[in-house]
């Protein structure tokens, strides 16, 4: 009887713990995920297995400011809470300190695609680098 109660208690604890974690589903082990496509897009410095980068396009605005459109998709079978950041570099390849590089949080349902447009910090930015990370 004691043994049964112990097993029941452990099972209950195991069920309850992930429920306490708001983003628990995003980190579910063993779930299928594909390569994020960072090799296809050299501007993508790092990504997570759940996110596939579909396209990265950029253009120069009238004054020379760079604007980037990043399309990405959740290829996992569960919803993902993640964040994206674009780091901007000046002509000497030094990172530009700007709040425009802050992590931008997003949530994607399984199979959902999103396109984000990010504008650079003026003409001083000559290069950019994109990174994804999981949200807590």
């Amino acid at each position: 009887m004691k043994h049964f109660i112990r097993i029941a208690f452990i099972s209950l604890l195991a069920t309850a713990l992930p429920a306490c974690n708001g983003t628990g589903a995003a980190g579910a082990p063993g779930a299928p995920a594909r390569d994020g496509g960072s090799r296809l897009f050299p501007q993508v410095a790092s990504t997570i297995s759940e996110i596939k980068v579909v396209s990265v396009r950029d253009r120069a605005l009238e004054d020379g400011t760079t604007q980037v459109a990043i399309a990405f998709e959740n290829v996992a079978v569960y919803a993902v809470s993640a964040a994206l950041s674009v780091t901007w570099f000046d002509v000497n390849d030094f990172p530009i300190k700007t709040t425009l590089s802050n992590w931008k949080e997003f949530e994607l349902a399984s199979g959902e695609m999103r396109e984000l447009v990010v504008t650079g910090p003026g003409q001083q930015a000559s290069r950019y680098s994109i990174a994804f990370r999981k949200s807590r």
Partner: protein
């Protein structure tokens, strides 16, 4: 019996000490801690970043002659239930715009008087024999603003279900061409948070 109580107290103290967390510096560049129901520094950064990106993308701060626009900060109203300093938002926008080289902010003119009174106080030295007059600012040297930034931060609270609250914040900003009085750029960044109804958002 006393020994048992003493031992239990010792064990409890050890555990309590072990659980006490030491203060940690937060890396604001990569802070992924859960958000708060109130407006935190990440919300200000997100709103400022969205505003600056929108301004740059619209081209309204591109001076036709390639120079810089002079910006005056007008009134930014705090219409939330929190005591916040709207400079947390405005300062970030000013810094970002200054970095772009397209906009410079005047501290000599503002909706609530000059931000830096020294521009005027230093001019009172004009004609004072104690000061070398070549270093004193001459008449007609202050630059009038071309643009004015004004706005409002709003908050709306809603009950969602039995125990949840949805708090909506709206960061509304306008850029006015002072010569014409026309709002040449406007932006609204909504930040919506949903959490326990017990969480205080004021």
């Amino acid at each position: 019996m006393n020994k048992t109580i003493l031992l239990a107290a010792c064990v409890a103290t050890t555990f309590a000490a072990g659980c006490a967390s030491t203060p940690q510096r937060v890396d604001t560049r990569s802070d992924s801690a859960p958000t708060t129901m109130t407006i935190d520094y990440r919300d200000f950064e997100e709103a400022a970043s969205a505003a600056v990106q929108s301004m740059l993308a619209s081209g309204v701060v591109n001076h036709p002659g390639g120079g810089r626009y002079v910006l005056a900060i007008s009134r930014i109203t705090n219409d939330t239930m929190q005591r916040i300093d709207t400079d947390q938002l405005v300062k970030k926008i000013r810094i970002e715009l200054l970095r772009t080289g397209k906009v410079v902010t005047t501290t000599a003119v503002g909706a609530n008087g000059p931000e830096d009174a020294m521009s005027y106080q230093a001019r009172e030295l004009r004609g004072n024999d104690e000061f070398n007059q070549s270093g004193v600012a001459q008449k007609g040297t202050l630059q009038a603003p071309d643009l004015s930034l004004s706005g409002k931060i709003m908050q709306r609270n809603h009950s969602v279900g039995r125990n949840k609250t949805q708090v909506e914040y709206f960061f509304q900003l306008s850029l006015t061409d002072i010569k014409t009085g026309l709002a040449i750029w406007e932006n609204e960044t909504p930040i919506v948070k949903r959490g326990s109804g017990k969480t205080v958002s004021w």
